[in-house]
Amino acid sequence: MTDNISRETIHNEAIDPDFIDAIVDAGADRIRTCIQCGTCSSVCPSGRRTAFRTRELMRKALLGLKDEVLSSPDLWLCATCLTCLERCPRQIKVTDAIIIMRNMAVAEGYMLPQHRKSSKKLLETGHAVPIDDANREIRKNLGLKEIPPTVHSSDEALADVQKIMERTGFKKLIEEEKEEK
């Protein structure tokens, strides 16, 4: 008789024992105290309508399932509403932990195309959402400066903003697209 229940075996090679240390070092210092109570999942607005389970993500991080966590599109379903962080009975900075893992994912080359697109806009214009013709017109009609008095109005300011993004490595990170695993 065949066994119809599929086993979900976690193989040793899937476990990276350094993964959780890196998350703790980056600031999610209480994550090891997680008791898997599920408060985070129960208050999650994304979890109400998708398969995203914050508790599962925390558990996988603790197990060291680095590749599985970083490659999962679910990592990008968190709207950063911070409710889990507020309610965690262990005071784990859950949202911070997710943001730390997202940074690791991007460094490994996992980035959604729409996110790369808005990052490119930021690199190009200093705004993730730059001005367009329709809104220039609306601004004019409302008696506002047609071009907002931001980095949009100053080449010098834009040069500084771009230099900062070069120095922090953002330009390289976004423009040199790594081969996705």
Partner: protein, 299 residues
């Protein structure tokens, strides 16, 4: 009336580039409350706390610090009307104050740019500044009672959380925005899950729009159930989310079920001050504000 105070007005991206009407209402209304605004020239994207911070935290910290440095050099505290930008600046300031090595990191990125930054500036949300005013002084400015107007108040997330790094002195069941809405004579209507996220943040609207709109729909449905004349918000991104999601939901349904006017707090306050709705930018909304204006001003 109140003693005048000057702030560096940080615009961000969504407000000046997608909802200039919200910006216009802020520029019109705040000076009437004694809050003077000076443009923060050359400011960039904040950058977004759930988006750019998710891609490269050091880049987020450096760009946010640059915006704060511009205000610090201008000698004013920074004022924002967007919850996301507010979150970015509050979290940046706490990060560099708790970890001085992060401030040094940022200063070294700034080398040669003439940016002086000690992290002494404060960042405030405009609703925080309005709430600090004497309500009686605000009332003196109001000429038009909004009695009979039912408002669905939406706070948003980053304005309130993480509560440890916010000025409200409580973690939940906030009432400050309801109080400020009711100053105008309008009623803040009770509805289910008032503190639910709009669903736009964290890069979710940008990349998984169906999930994002479905989160917005939950609150919109709760509001339809109790019946309100408008949603009042204090965040340009929440504002975008409720405007754009209603348009999209109507398109998907093939009927105009979602028609709740979405207005920013300074637009509501401006109406109660008797200001011209067109000057408050109420004529260029994605969801028509006409039914609300008719009810307030009479047809």
């Amino acid at each position: 009336m109140t003693e005048s105070q000057t702030y560096s007005f940080f615009l961000g991206c969504v407000m000046p580039n997608r909802f200039p009407n919200v910006e216009a209402s802020i520029r019109l209304v705040l000076p009437k409350l004694g809050i003077e605004l000076e443009d923060l020239e050359g400011a960039s994207c904040c950058p977004a706390p759930g988006v750019i911070r998710s891609f490269s935290e050091p880049t987020w910290l450096a760009l946010a610090s640059r915006n704060l440095a511009l205000a610090e050099m201008a000698g004013h505290d920074l004022l924002t009307g967007c919850n996301g930008c507010y979150g970015t600046f509050k979290e940046t300031l706490s990060e560099i104050r708790e970890h001085p090595e992060r401030l040094k990191e940022v200063q070294s990125v700034f080398k040669g740019m003439g940016l002086k930054f000690k992290g002494e500036v404060e960042a405030k949300h405009l609703i925080e500044i309005i709430y600090e005013l004497d309500p009686e002084n605000i009332k003196k400015r109001l000429t038009k009672s909004l009695e009979g107007i039912k408002v669905g108040v939406h706070y948003g997330c980053h304005l309130l959380k993480p509560s440890k790094n916010r000025p409200w002195g409580q973690t939940q069941r906030h009432t400050f925005l309801d109080e400020l809405v009711e100053l105008t004579g309008a009623t803040s209507t009770k509805y289910k899950d008032k503190f639910l996220c709009c669903g736009a943040g964290g890069g979710v609207r940008g990349s998984q729009v169906a999930v994002s709109v479905d989160i917005a729909k939950e609150k919109l449905d709760n509001l339809l159930e109790v019946g309100v004349d408008c949603i009042v918000n204090v965040c340009s991104f929440c504002h975008l989310q409720y405007e754009a999601s209603q348009v999209q939901l109507n398109k998907e349904l093939g009927e105009k079920k979602y028609q709740i006017p979405v207005i920013y707090y300074t637009q509501l306050l401006g109406l109660a001050m008797g200001l011209d709705p067109m000057e408050l930018g109420l004529g260029v909304h994605m969801i028509s504000t006409q039914p609300l204006l008719d009810k307030i001003l009479g047809k």
